[in-house]
């Protein structure tokens, strides 16, 4: 059943309508949300594929799956990360306010609708500049409650990061503090759909549905994610100067210390401005996709080889739980 979560009249002959698709009628509820950032589309395929697979065998669903493919419909329509006309990042206004302005009101109704889900998955695609391997990001404040579920989501990497006051205004934080367990997925790149990542995550979502007891069909064995909880494990590589970045490595591969991952060039002069090299050996889990860089632009993230080996061994030994 498709229903309206919140509806607001726009000035000229149009309603802003945030809708959801409910599969199943009763039982525990899994909510899948995406499209908070209008230029991140990876979750569109996940919603489609999940609905398609469940609809093909509805008798196997013994709970509820709610799909919210477009929390920011105007952003999606205008290829805009934030909320158009307000230039607001929707993921900085949660939990919203019932008596607030239009955007805060919409945010509050979304929180109200999602609250009480057994689990919520918020799917992002990094942004239009970076490509990411499928990963889950967890605020350290909620580690204990959501990490066991993150292990089952069939992602390659789980990154437990430090708490930040600014992140208190995200959907995931707002739901987690209300007792609705929420995982944030980042995968692929903005403005594109990477079907293999979508399929990988959908397999993980069925595994989670099995865990919640709401899916009676068979599920795939999920991959063991590398889990990083130490901030020092992750190296950020920022552009030392402005130019055009020519990517030399794909994300998901391993690099050795000093290995080139690309070049920053100056097309006007036809020269290489800078060779971009890995400062540490490790796993390249983020790489820049958008070629233009300013000084400081993020170009890559690397999980150090030591941390990768340590965490991989720990997971293999089964003592990561």
């Amino acid at each position: 059943m498709i229903s309206t979560v919140v509806k607001v009249a726009l000035p000229v002959n149009e309603m802003l309508d945030v809708r959801k698709h409910r599969l199943g009628t009763d039982g525990k509820r899994l909510s899948i949300v995406t499209g908070i950032h209008g230029d991140e589309l990876e979750g569109q395929y996940v919603c489609y594929e999940l609905a398609r697979r469940i609809s093909a065998a509805p008798q196997l669903l013994t709970g509820i799956v709610d799909l919210y493919p477009a929390l920011n419909p105007l952003g999606i329509d205008t290829v805009t990360r934030g909320i158009p006309a307000f230039d607001l990042d929707m993921n900085r206004i949660f939990p919203g306010r019932q008596d607030g302005d239009m955007n805060e009101y919409v945010a509050s109704r979304i929180i109200e609708d999602l609250s009480g889900s057994e689990l919520c998955i918020d799917i992002h695609a990094s942004n239009i500049y970076l490509t990411e391997i499928p990963q889950i990001r967890i605020n350290e404040l909620h580690r204990d409650t959501v990490l066991p579920l993150a292990r089952l989501a069939n992602v390659d990497f789980v990154w437990v990061h430090g708490a930040s006051t600014v992140l208190e205004a995200t959907l995931a934080h707002s739901l987690n503090v209300r007792g609705t367990k929420t995982l944030v997925v980042e995968m692929g790149v903005g403005m594109r759909i990477t079907r293999r990542y979508g399929d990988q995550l959908v397999d993980g979502l069925f595994r989670l549905m099995k865990e919640l007891g709401i899916w009676q069909g068979s599920v795939c064995e999920v991959r063991r994610p590398v889990i990083s909880e130490n901030p020092a494990d992750v190296v950020f590589l920022n552009a030392p100067l402005s130019g055009v970045f020519l990517k030399g490595k794909e994300h998901g591969g391993h690099v050795y210390a000093g290995e080139s991952i690309g070049q920053i060039v100056d097309p006007l002069r036809g020269i290489v401005l800078c060779e971009v090299t890995a400062p540490k050996a490790g796993w390249l889990f983020t790489i820049r996709e958008y070629p233009m860089v300013s000084e400081g632009s993020l170009m890559a993230r690397i999980l150090s080889a030591d941390a990768f080996a340590r965490e991989t061994a720990r997971e293999a030994d089964g003592d990561g739980a």
Binding site: V8, A9, L10, P11, V12, N13, R81, G82, A85, F86, D87, L88, R92, D99, G100, D101, M102, Y105, N127, Y129, T165, V166, L167, E168, A169, F236, N238, L241, S242, G243, V244, D266, L268, M292, S294, E295, G296, S297, L298
Partner: protein, 314 residues
């Protein structure tokens, strides 16, 4: 006055990004003033222009303390101003959500760090801020409630109102908040507008700053005018929200004293012209904020009032 580049960043196809400051006096770091940080803050830039004109004149007359440094930075983000884009050109991030900045981080974190390095250590700081929603304000001083706020200092500007604001999570990455945390007495000065320059309001802001400087012993020019400020918290204001969307026709402006029941605005159907919503004052008070876009969304703040009850407390 000395002109200097406080922070510089090279680009591929554009001129270097230069954050330029104008320094008066030497010695103790007394006051830093930051103007436009976003690309549409033309009023903030204009206010700095008028302030620099007045400060240069005072300096020539020997009325500025030479043993105190006053630094004015009219524009932190010329790249965005020059292309009329509110936030950062490439990734649309807001420099005023990046403080205290990070010199090894992303581009706007580096700009914030460069700026913050240049303006840290000043005893006092003033930022010409802007609101995310288009609208006109009653000029006022806004102070974040951090535990370090200087309310006496805020009143020294002599503007009718000082607004005390309880920070929300995103406020913790603003300049005003971080300035306070790092030991600067910080004030945000709001004039009437943002994208549409208003010379009268800019001059009013400059008067307020010179009044503040005089009371802080930074100038020798007296401090004519000004009034006893009323302190109002954001929670005490009455927000009047639209119950419909459409064309907005306002019938009152910031500073107007209004009566309970008075019609302040109407929202009309953009096709047929019928009145969809009438916004009336629920209490006696003065209008502090008025939405300025011709079209308005539902549940949007049309006006904010300071109730008379609150005004009479001071």
């Amino acid at each position: 006055m000395e002109r200097e580049v406080l922070f510089e960043m090279k680009a591929l196809y554009r001129d270097d990004l230069r954050v330029t400051g104008f320094r008066f006096g030497q010695g103790e770091k007394a006051l830093a003033i930051v103007g436009a940080m976003r690309g549409n803050e033309f009023q903030q830039l204009l206010t700095c222009q008028r302030l620099l004109t007045r400060l240069q004149a005072l300096e020539k007359q020997g009325k500025l303390r030479s043993d105190r440094q006053v630094l004015v930075i009219p524009c932190v983000n010329p790249y965005s101003v020059n292309v009329k884009k509110r936030f950062w050109t490439i990734d649309n991030t807001d420099i005023n959500r990046m403080f205290p900045g990070y010199a090894e981080g992303e581009t706007t974190q580096r700009i914030a760090a460069g700026l913050f390095g240049a303006i840290s250590g000043y005893a006092r700081g003033i930022q010409f801020a802007s609101f995310y929603m288009p609208g006109h304000f009653l000029p006022h001083i806004r102070v974040m409630k951090t535990g370090y706020e200087d309310m006496q200092g805020a009143k020294a500007f002599g503007l009718p109102y000082v607004v005390l604001h309880t920070p929300r999570p995103f406020d913790t990455a603003t300049l005003n908040y971080n300035w306070q945390i790092w030991g600067t007495k910080a004030f945000s000065l709001y004039t009437t507008d943002t994208a549409q320059p208003d010379r009268t309001s800019a001059e009013q802001a400059v008067d307020a700053i010179l009044r503040y400087m005089a009371l802080q012993g930074l100038t020798d020019c007296g401090c004519a005018g000004g009034e006893a400020s009323t302190v109002v918290s954001t929670e005490e204001m009455v927000t009047l929200r639209s119950q419909a969307s459409g064309f907005l026709e306002v019938m009152a402006a910031p500073g107007d004293v209004v009566r309970c029941g008075q019609t302040l605005a109407e929202i009309t159907d953009p096709f047929l012209g019928g009145v969809k919503d009438t916004v009336t004052a629920p209490v006696d008070g003065v209008i502090w904020f008025q939405h300025s876009d011709p079209m308005i969304y539902e549940d949007t703040a049309v006006m904010k009032l300071i109730p008379n009850e609150r005004r009479q407390l001071e």
